[in-house]
Amino acid sequence: MSQALTISNLRVTLGGNEILTGIDATIAEGEFIGIFGPNGAGKTTLVRAILGNLRPTTGSISIFGEPPAQAARRIGYMPQGNSGLELTALSARAMVEAVCRGEKWGIPWTTPNDRREVERVLQLAGAATYADRPYSVLSGGERQRVMLAQALLGRPRLLVLDEPLASLDPKNQSLLIECIAEIKRQTRATVLFVAHDMNPLLHVMDRVLYMAGGGAVLGPLDEVVNSESLTQLYRFPIEVVRAGPRVFVVATEGNVTESECAHHDHD
């Protein structure tokens, strides 16, 4: 199996602070990687570096053998948060059309080919049924599907999804995860899925990239998310508690490290 993403000794310093302190990771084509870690662990910085929007201080990133800037067309990216298009009637379909070959020059004319491509990604993301309704009236879960459709344009080989579960209720989280897992099966794309809570993803991901304090460990769930490995990564006593199929990461000395206190059952 060939490599989708190779990160070697990646260091990023921003405004004098070392955000990433030497990350190594090799991810094979077709893998589903969950990226976790507390706030401030450098998840967003890592994503920006992979997208080529942030120059590493040292180290390198290679995506299908190319540096990030050249690999941009192979990457589908779903950013965090929402478009601020409240109070407009612009339809979800129009918002996907606007992104379709949006990096070209000229006027934003939608060709029949573009139209077919937009319909394809809307179907794939499960957003086709409400694509003609205004984006502003869609629910949080529906909006995420539209953003997912935007990310799927141009048949990307690597999908980078930055906290797609944020602000979704457990049911919609589960539906979105199933949808993404199905897309991965169909397109055989590599998926990097950034999330706060790993529990909803346990059954779909192949390996875990756990980040803390600027460092990261990559490996199978059991090897990465255990008390010993995370204590080493955090340089602080960490305990991993298993409750049935679920996993909780807590600081031994009282405080919960992740916002697992805001944890929700997922059914």
Partner: protein, 272 residues
């Protein structure tokens, strides 16, 4: 009434007003569409006030206010575009620049000995019937240039406006796009202020696009509706000015306000 309208169309200054108004309305509606999608309405408003200082300075130096405004707004637009989102979406920074520009304009006008009030009035509230044939040509040229430039990068601009993070990931420079758009906006604002005046630029650059975006689900339907609304209302405003004692600027703003109320009411009732 029809007779007197036809009679008015015989006057060159009425025809010039209609031509200049049409051109500014078209440009304003198209540029305004992107202003609303990008949510930079306040920056557009501020640009026109920066133009006030430029127009006043030009009047003082005996230059055409149009040129003075263009120089000031283009410089400010370039600066705002390059300074990026940090600056032009910050209400405080924009407000400060806006009020300082008005202050500067007031200073220039106070040095202007002859007919201070008349000059200020036409800059602030527009002098639609004062547009000469030469100015119409200039407005046509500037509109064509701005639209050509906008057409060149509008696909990228729309992408970057709707999903900026994704556009950045695809290798687009948000700063360059923002700066280029602000320059087009500067020209559009300057031309619109020739018709409705600096204080009321909002009405030509934002109102048609804002109303169209509230109604239309596709981008092209929105742009076409905005242009149609802009041109129609400007024509009605100018013709009503000819027939009544009320100025065109009043009619244009009043019609847009009523349209806005109607559309807003319609959208609330149908819960959109």
């Amino acid at each position: 009434m029809i007779d007197s309208l036809v009679n008015y169309l015989g006057y060159e200054f009425v025809r010039n007003a209609l031509l200049a108004g049409t051109l500014s309305a078209i440009l304003g509606a198209i540029v305004g569409y992107f202003v609303v999608v990008r949510n930079v309405g306040f920056a557009a408003h501020a640009l026109s006030h920066i133009g006030f200082a430029g127009a006043a300075a030009a009047a003082l130096l005996g230059l055409s206010p149009l040129h003075g405004m263009l120089i000031f707004t283009l410089a400010a637009a370039l600066f705002m575009g390059v300074a990026g989102d940090l600056l032009h979406r910050r209400d405080m920074a924009i407000g400060m620049v806006l009020s300082f520009s008005l202050g500067l304009g007031t200073l220039f006008l106070s040095f202007y000995r002859q007919s201070f009030a008349g000059q200020a009035r036409s800059i602030l509230f527009g002098s639609i019937f004062g547009v000469s044939s030469g100015e119409v040509e200039e407005i046509a040229l500037l509109s064509a240039l701005s639209l050509a430039l906008l057409a060149f990068f509008s696909r990228r601009l729309l992408f970057a406006s709707i999903q900026p993070r994704l556009a950045e990931a695809k290798g687009l420079s948000l700063t360059t796009l923002s700066a280029a758009f602000m320059m087009v906006l500067a020209v559009s604002v300057t031309l619109a202020s020739q018709i409705v005046g600096i204080l009321l630029v909002f009405t030509l650059v934002i109102a048609p696009a804002g109303i169209a975006l509230r109604l239309c689900r596709s981008v092209w339907a929105g742009i076409v509706t905005a242009v149609a609304l802009g041109v129609l209302v400007v024509w009605i405003g100018i013709l009503l000015d000819c027939l009544t004692d009320c100025p065109a600027t009043f009619w244009i703003t009043a019609i847009f306000f009523l349209l806005y109320l109607a559309v807003e009411g319609f959208c609330r009732l149908t819960s959109r």
